[in-house]
Symmetry: C2
């Protein structure tokens, strides 16, 4: 029986809600992604092949200059966090692991390069590609889409195609000439490389098509193990390796045997293997390389489980389908360049965290023991200082099941950690201790508050409390004693930033404690939530570093980042990092007017060049006045006018950031993508709202830049945002409705999204100063 | 009901068979062991604590001079294969893994040393013990027995006691003074040490008593992993470490935190940790350190499973009971010094191979994957070139169950090896390729022929055939093509030794093939069994190296070892390495007389010093004329007169070797014990017989030096050897009986032993030239 009423509503209303369908010839989501966005300079994205949240992220590396010890931010090296720089003329090869958009790096594991036998068994140098197996290439022959990458290696006339499943990289090399073709497996190559980074590596030639091995590196990840199984579509006729070390193998065999040719074990710190084939013109050789963090046995099983066949196109198709499934969860109307930016941001928001376990559930824990993920998918790669802000909240909407598994993964880390604290910046069974705070805490509480399940709330509570009370961690002992991290104490560096971030994290714990009925902890952490006040200097109105005795550190320069007690931000930005209690800060400052002036000044000011020091992701491009969008601490700041009753100023600044900081070009991200945080900012903001304070259930309203956006939720419902009368100039909200009811507040709730509904904004070129300007319209603040 | 008949026979016959019981006040087996035998100079034994076949062999190390690359036989280093030299004045500490009696080495893992806080955190140098934590000691305070070791560290007034289970070392330290006591865990220390041997090490402080960690070394074992769990009986009050490296931890935490004190993760290549305690005078601190080759989790489980308590004396008692059980399997009558030699040899024969798996059956395979031993105990440490001769045959009698499991372990190695061949010289999931031959083959065939079960004969057959036909291995390709290893081909070094050893190994395969009805292979390997003939030079009567074209290599010096195509033996010795076909060789030589002259000359000749080069285990002491007992290739030679019908000459020479090459003193083994091979030679020969040709079921009769020996077999039966009228001068067999029936042959069979029975020798000072001198009395030869 046809339900005519539903059909009518569906068809009629859908078309009514889709005014732009007819007016642009738009590409579907998958085809709207431009994987090259962010590959030039600061974005630190990579263009290679991966599936959503896949462990294998198989991508060309165009450079890996060695970095020197204690010089992690060597700018020449920093450019290569993702291995690829758009302006480079040559490709070294194709490695299987990459970070998306990080500000420090590692990985680049198991580089493969097809070449010819007459090329040197060295990568060669940038200035002279003929000195090695690297090859010139051109963007003209480069074709890439989510899950697929193609390029022609000009020096050797080899066509390369790459695709991937979660744990397997699939390579297809087509050789133009008859003759001696060679495929190199480089165990030395690494991203953020230095002499000695490879602690050990090993290759076993299992038979004339199957190769297994592993390597251990001591890089950003202190003790990192990765195993592989590599199978060729055709037997190699000869193999061997070079070992750039003097004393490879202590044993007797060595004396007589030329181990470097056709000897099935290759071991050492500097091993580069080759496999030779006779090919005829036009012949393709495929290879599949599976990863495991557990063992070569695990890698072999992953290979068999994921890609048992040799049909490259099938795997490519499956990768595409996986992307279409995920990208299709948000349907938007906008002109194509916006669509490109949006879907590329969506693509980047689905590249990390990554699945980190074998097909059978076994994974390497932070204790370096092998564990089994029982009933969940184990993830790694938590850049939490970046991602607690918007990426994880984004995943609570789009990927609630995965969000729950990510929390289980963090809880496993907590249980396996010798410190018994949650991850800070972790990947591949390593903790890097990078950046500050204990921001797994807001991620977990935010998910709990938003009803994400699949994890044990009591265990989560223990984990967040333990993490927030681990005295040896980064000044926390002093913080707990005197209410702030003193600049002159242990871990006094960045003491002001630490204090405000701890206070925010603590506020989230108070929310969880209250929800679980833990009154004592709720009170304790509510007290700690206002610790930011201990660093408020009434004289300047800034959050400032102070010593144990209570003295403000001098000299004080609110424009400077370095040496002032802040990290990746200055006093202007960090003083606003009180997402849990903006109203409380406004009160300290002296009221709305002072606060608004403060914001106005921030967005208007011109920073002297030397003040930007320590904010390396900006280079000017990522800034609006003194607001640094290229770094995270201020990501919520554009939304703060709402708290002072003038949402139209937020609307203006959000639209400016959306317009200026993102573009559909290789340099289209105005700072490191930071494993998707920059992209998640865009995704939210383009739809008109943003999670200013994860741990609350509110998304604060800005100003959308999409005509329409429909989120297809995992629960089968959908949430639609419609921006009527939107244009480049129509940046102001005149009015809004939620499910047809006028909306006179500057936030919506998570519940309003996931139960499905329609949010309609009416846009105009002129601000409506009355809309949602009352005190009651403002988002949550602790001090309200 | 009392069975009076059995009782009568038991009591009466036993006393009748025990004429010496009353005449000496003898110590029981356990107390007869002197673990210091072999600890001076060449024996390379260690005096520390272990249980039979235990993985933990916890022993003091007195020296570990660094060795230089490509100089494995640096004599100063070679002395320290077992870590301990009897004449050394200081102890560096107590490490948990040692080889017994090897000629190359590794291990020395996880050295622990109790000391005081004011001692340097460096081991210091031999000439100046005060420069480090090493301490002077004296043999006067040293007490050791199987499974127990005690010493007083004089510089710090600390009493050390050690005991062990299979996977756990148990330490007890008693401090004389009040004050700051310190226990060092040295992750750098190693046997056969060199700068860079430790690839990586890691320590986790799990709590204030439990520490876990691991290290990887690149030594003789190319890629060796070992994990530990260490628990103290008392909480430490402070801990920390030094790291002799400039760049330990790439991460941010490092910048501010003094990670070297009380930071629970210690990682690097050169880590030495300390744990501090307040102690009062007379206080004891115990610690238990468990090993695992799998993981720290595995080590923790091993610790809990094996020694869950803190009763040092209980573990010591259990270790003693384990030894009493094994040592009691052979009951002997002899004067005490003989008993000491015999039971110490028995002790040494039970120290390797070692159990190499976790308590739950998981072990690291040669493929570096983790496997589970299903239904058997997995062993490692196979010094097969040494031990196929007598140690493994000895185990087929005394330890048939373990012998079967050792074969299963070797078959697992075969299956996991990328080469698909059996172990050569393997330990701890590493193949060293040390020495020559494929002597796992005779071990397996010998066990099969002798009815050892518990392994799959068909799989074993495949394994021995694959091992004997793996062309890339050590000249085997040429050997298969032309019937010998040519001196000028690949792996031409030691080509004569390789050829005769391959031919012998091949003969054993022919035996197995025949038993399994594999006619084709039986014929093929029977052909290969006489390949030694291809190197027989009729001009000199020696087995000689020859080139591919068939030319003998020149210059030829039958006295010299090095550069002649032999290893650890010269032409005189190696020409007799045809255990499978002594009669065939006699025929080639020209008959018994020439052969007997050859043997007489060998035992009479005086080697010029320069000819001994390459026979480093002798230093004169291990030789009878030109017969080198300190190295293995000749171990069967004393028994060869039997094949020419003059057993009395074998009797004389065997008794001479028994008397001259073994003594109850620290230098009581005339060469490396070679993981028990030297000891097994003694055990057999002292009882009057020896496995000249493993793979046959015969033991060839020599001349016993024990009045009586009773072997209590695993099948519940016993085999008794009685030497009537034995004395230092009465070395000749006048007659013999087996189970009361006159024995007129110079061998007995395995079957005769394991079905139980009595072998009686009647001894005299004069040879009986007629006893067993007929052709039919001679042991097996292929050419018979």
């Amino acid at each position: 029986m046809i339900d005519w009423k539903t059909l009518f509503i569906t068809v009629f209303c859908a078309s009514a809600l889709l005014p732009s369908v007819a007016r642009t010839q738009k590409k579907p989501p998958y085809e709207s992604v431009d994987v090259f966005i962010g590959t030039r300079e600061m974005g630190h994205t990579f263009p290679g092949a991966a599936i959503p949240f896949g462990m294998v992220q198989l991508s060309p590396d165009t450079g890996n200059p060695p970095f020197l010890k204690d010089n992690m931010y060597n700018p020449a090296v920093y450019r290569y966090c993702a291995g690829y720089q758009y302006d480079d003329p040559t490709i070294i090869g194709f490695s299987h692991t990459h970070f998306n958009g990080t500000g420090h790096s590692d990985l680049g594991d198991f580089l493969i390069m097809p070449t010819r036998r007459d090329r040197p068994l060295e990568p060669g140098v940038v200035g002279n590609p003929d000195s090695g197996f690297r090859s010139r290439f051109s963007h003209a022959t480069e074709r890439a889409a989510p899950g697929y990458y193609r390029v022609r290696l000009e020096d050797t006339d080899i066509d390369v195609e790459l695709t991937a499943s979660s744990r397997v990289g699939f390579h297809k090399y087509t050789f133009s000439d008859n003759g001696d073709s060679r495929i190199i497996l480089d165990m030395i190559h690494s991203i953020y490389d230095y002499d000695g980074k490879v602690i050990w590596s090993s290759i076993r030639i299992e038979n004339d098509r199957l190769v297994t091995g592993f390597r251990q590196t001591h890089g950003w990840g202190r003790t990192r193990y990765l195993y592989f199984a590599l199978v060729f579509s055709k037997p190699f006729k000869r193999y061997g390796y070079m070992n750039n070390e003097s004393a490879p193998y202590r044993g007797f065999w060595d004396k007589a045997m030329k181990q470097k040719d056709n000897f099935p074990e290759m071991t050492g710190r500097k091993v580069r293997a080759y496999f030779d084939f006779d090919t005829v013109a036009g012949e393709s050789i495929c290879l599949k390389l599976a990863l495991s963090a557990v063992s070569t046995d695990g890698a072999r099983q992953n290979l068999e489980a994921e890609i048992p066949h040799w049909d490259f196109e099938q795997t490519r198709r499956e990768a595409r389908l996986a992307w279409e499934r995920e990208l299709g969860k948000v349907e938007i109307d906008a002109e194509q360049s916006r669509r490109t930016i949006f879907y590329t941001a969506l693509y980047h928001s689905l590249l990390s965290p990554i699945e980190y376990m074998d097909h059978n559930g076994r994974y390497r824990g932070i204790d370096q023991n092998i564990h089994r993920a029982e009933g969940f998918t184990h993830y790694t790669l938590f850049s939490l200082w970046d991602t607690y802000r918007a990426l994880h909240p984004w995943l609570t909407i789009l990927q609630p099941r995965r969000a729950g598994d990510m929390i289980r993964s963090m809880l496993a880390h907590y249980e396996q950690s010798v410190h018994r604290i949650l991850p800070i910046w972790s990947f591949h069974a390593n903790e890097t201790w990078c950046m500050i705070g204990y921001h797994a805490v807001p991620v977990i509480v935010d998910a709990f508050i938003k009803g994400i399940d699949g994890f044990d709330a009591e265990k989560a509570f223990q984990a967040v409390v333990d993490s927030a009370t681990h005295a040896p961690y980064s000044g926390l002992g002093n913080y707990m004693k005197i209410g702030y991290v003193p600049a002159d104490g242990e871990f006094g560096e960045n003491s002001a930033s630490k204090t405000v971030e701890y206070a925010y994290d603590d506020w989230t714990i108070s929310r969880l404690a209250r929800a679980l009925g833990r009154t004592r902890e709720a009170e304790e952490f509510t007290r700690r939530a206002v610790n930011y006040r201990n660093l408020f200097d009434p004289g300047t109105g800034f959050i400032r570093a102070r010593t144990t005795s209570g003295k403000w550190t001098e000299p004080f320069d609110p424009l400077k980042t370095s040496g002032q007690g802040y990290i990746e931000g200055n006093a202007w930005n960090y003083s606003l990092h009180i997402p849990q209690d903006i109203r409380g800060y406004i009160r300290l400052l002296g009221g709305d007017k002072v606060f608004i002036d403060r914001l106005d000044s921030l967005f208007r000011q011109k920073l002297p060049a030397e003040s930007v020091a320590g904010s390396e992701d900006t280079a000017g491009a990522g800034m609006v006045g003194g607001y640094i969008h290229g770094n995270e601490p201020g990501h919520h700041i554009p939304y703060l006018y709402n708290y002072a009753g003038i949402p139209w100023k937020t609307q203006a600044i959000v639209r400016r950031v959306l317009a200026e900081m993102y573009s559909a070009t290789p340099d289209g991200i105005a700072g490191n993508d930071d494993t998707g945080q920059m992209s998640a900012w865009y995704l939210f903001s383009a739809m008109g709202f943003y999670p200013v304070c994860p741990g609350s259930d509110q998304y604060v309203i800005g100003s959308p830049c999409l005509d329409r956006a429909v989120i297809h939720l995992e629960n089968g419902r959908k949430f639609t945002m419609l921006a009527r009368n939107l244009s480049a100039g129509n940046i102001y909200i005149q009015s809004a409705e939620m499910n047809g009811v006028p909306l006179a507040r500057t936030y919506i709730t998570h519940e309003e999204i996931i139960r499905g509904g329609n949010l309609v904004f009416h846009m105009s070129a002129k601000p409506n100063r009355n809309w949602a300007s009352s005190r009651g319209a403002s988002p949550y603040s602790l001090s309200d």
